[in-house]
Amino acid sequence: MTAPPSADAVPHGRLLISKAWVQVAVLVVLFGFLVLGVLAYLVYRDEPPVPRQVVGDRGQVLFTGDDITSGQQVFLRSGLMQYGSIFGHGAYLGPDFTADYLHRAATIARSNEPGGDAALIADFQANRYDPATRTLRFSGPQTTAYLANERHYADFFGDPTTAKGLLPHAITDPAEIHQLTSYFAWSAWAAAAHRPGADHSYTNSWPPEPLVGNRPTADNIVWSVLSLIALLGGIGALFGVYGRYGDRLGWRGRQADTLSFRQPGEVALTPGQRVTAPFFFVVAALFVAQSLLGGASEHYRADLGSFFGLDLARLLPYNLTRTWHLQMALFWVAAAFLAAGIFLAPIIARREPRGQDRLSMILLGALIVVVAGSLLGEFFSIRGMVPASARFIGANQYEYLDLARLWQILLTAGMGLWAFILWRGLRGRLRGEHRGNLPWMFFWAALAIPVIYAIGLLSRTTDTFTTADFWRFWVVHLWVEDFLELFTTVMVAYIFVLLGVIREKVALIVVYFDIVLYSVGGVIGTMHHLYFSGAPAQHMALGAFFSAAEVIPLTFLTVEAWAFLQLGARQEAASPTPFPHRWAVMFLVAVGFWNFLGAGVFGFLINLPIVSYYEIGTGLTANHAHGSMMGVYGMLAIAMALFCLRYMIPPRLWPDRLAKISFWSLNIGLAWMCFATLLPVGILQLYHSVSTGYWHARSLKYLTNPTNSLIEWLRLPGDAVFIIGGALPFLYIAWLGLRHAAKARPATPGETEDRLFTEITGPVDR
């Protein structure tokens, strides 16, 4: 009665779906990257110039181009991008130093400006940069303001206490203060002085600052409106087309086969699969540490002065807790994906070559070295113990790309090794298989992960912020939001195939559909991060339009995916054996939900240029980041981990109740975080930014006012539930996996079983 193992494990020389899917997907991706290539050229051509020297009104040299570049180095290696921000990019506790410098300079200049406010605006908007001599001239009031600001920043960073969340005496070297002030002054100049031939500044007149005449540009408003229209029209059109032709996508219900799920304990594990247990333990340990650091970072916003009576900032200042919080988020999620890929490969290939376990252990070792090395580098860098000459092994400290270049290269190499491990494992299966079919898509999606991450190496600390930021977002947006998303889709679709939830052909359609819809908006939509960091207006226009277009599939696809991911949770086939992955699929249901809310709704809240103009670098960004990064990738990583750990832990020891507690705690905790604190704080801050001023909405004075403190304290129950009820039980489950994986039924290298169920009704034509 039981059918031969599987038809899925037999290579298909032909493409399972129409060639048109592949052609459209390739064309859309090529088009996106072609446009990005043009935009890369424009960024280099039109970025704000770094002058050779900046002179005062009497011709005296105030600072040089080297001071600006060195100031950026000081800013980065002191971890200030994880404290406040520059051009709106960075962390949200400290001020935005561009807006802060600009407002202080304008206020000081105002008292020295005999011509009144109109003259002040004209003074700041005048572009006195001479490209021939590469000299920038400051006016008299601007010169006075620069000198006063230098004294201000010396006081600010030389604070002997930890009252600002930084180390005591964080920066005291007068030369470094001079360089830092020069860097801020240059960014503020680029934010106010008009581009040659344009009626707006290099930053599209961001930040909003009435004193210097900075207000939303015509481009900003027109492209906001156009992208909103495109969004509404697009959603209507897409739903219309889907309603008309949706059946052709292949969803149409075919009778579910009668499946017999192979139970944990019956599934033999290959050596390569068993060594994923330490991976998942590292994943869980990093997750616990990351959520604790998140709690500490949050505490700084609720009570800046002390951590329940302790002066935490002496050991772990805010910029360090936030740096580690962000770095670990990427590390544990990525590590879970790597491990899940290694675990799935032998199931897909039906065999495992010898040595996969050793290669995987090398990968784990490399990963631990990168994690430990980069975190230590950041610790010493923020303490001022890494000289500029050692930045290669110290720290990079661009937000999200905080790890030093050495670790970046090693991480890329590690992910390259991982792609090699997968290729080695899948080789037998890939041979003879059409390159557009699911096994190859699994490999292509995996290969894209190191390739796109490597592009982040183009972002160097010595580059102008504008170009460095351009490449940084290839990692933050394109790598995280698009290519991890692609790998995710392929992996989830494949797991559903392996679990018999959907057929391979349907899975393949889902994958191509995802590539086409995400690439239409997602690739060029990367530019929605670069509205105000010195890139020309084209970036804002295309970024706004295409990222609104990104919301169309996002809304559509996430509602679809929301329903799609629930497929696993509805087990209807009459199986004689219980479905073993109850909590893994429930985490996938949560992914569907958070993808819609955290990525889709919370993301779109801040996507339009006109909203971003007042909002960038405020609480609503953190709201989106938590809802999407933890809600989507975090939940997904845990789903993958539980899926794999289920086969490593003996069934009698499987702590189902703990998995349940973890599931509910993580979701309730995250919902509480977003709705009790991040969303209301963000809305209030946005209101304050529009009504009183962006610089003020970003000041410590505003952030620590009693209303904000109260709302920040409201987050405590959610954080506690999340960490104690959610992260710790997951760590225990991973520990059980670590203890018992070695004792799991061994599969000898070579032939292994393919799917995780057997069909009772027999194989069918797909």
Binding site: D247, G253, R254, V559, R570, F579, P580, V589, F593, D656
Partner: protein, 195 residues
């Protein structure tokens, strides 16, 4: 009657927004649940009056069994009709005729349903905490009326979101015979290891 303070207006407004979001999420979750069901039953039409399905080729699928564990009713088309059907390959391999299922318990009686209800309820609990906090701090008449109305809104929504619990005390109803249908033959009653 005294004016309502800005704090109460803002906090109350946010609590009202949370209630609306909770209701909206619940509606959307219900919609996606329907969508999930349509993935499985695409092209088939259910007739609730006669309790049968009609397939795209206009054949009737009648109830034939009840799955205790999954609380599903199973429907099947006549085997002879399926054998002769021109689109059989796209539909089923079963020699006994195409089968389709329908859950006995409507939304949100499913694992995913309970999850979405749980999230919506979290928002209502938060709204209640905010309203109660404001009630402790503000006692002017206008504020009491507004906060009282919001509290009633929280309780009503909370009750609405937990109605599935009221209807089935102690969680899911105990397995029972449905409309006198026999248990599905393939299903054994071995309990799940996780239940």
């Amino acid at each position: 009657m005294t004016a309502i303070s800005t704090e109460v207006l803002l906090a109350g407004g946010y609590a009202a927004l949370l209630i609306l979001i909770a209701r909206g999420l619940d509606l959307l979750a219900r919609h996606t649940h329907g969508q999930t069901e349509r993935f499985r039953t695409g092209g088939f039409r259910y007739d609730p009056d006669h309790d049968h399905w009609t397939c795209p080729e206009d054949q009737l699928l009648r109830p034939y069994g009840y799955d205790h564990r999954r609380r599903l009713i199973r429907y099947r088309a006549p085997a002879a009709a399926c054998t002769a059907c021109p689109v059989r390959a796209l539909c089923t391999d079963s020699a006994e005729g195409r089968e389709i299922t329908r859950p006995v318990d409507p939304w949100p009686h499913s694992e995913a349903g309970r999850f979405h209800r749980g999230i919506a309820l979290t928002l209502v609990v938060l709204a209640t905490v905010i309203v109660l906090g404001e009630l402790l701090r503000n006692h002017h008449l206008g504020e009491l009326i507004m906060l009282g109305a919001l509290l009633a809104g929280c309780l009503t929504t909370g009750r609405r979101l937990t109605d599935h619990l009221h209807a089935t005390p102690g969680g899911f109803p105990a397995p029972a015979r449905y409309q006198g249908l026999p248990p599905t033959p393939e299903t054994d009653d071995r309990p799940d290891d996780y239940d």
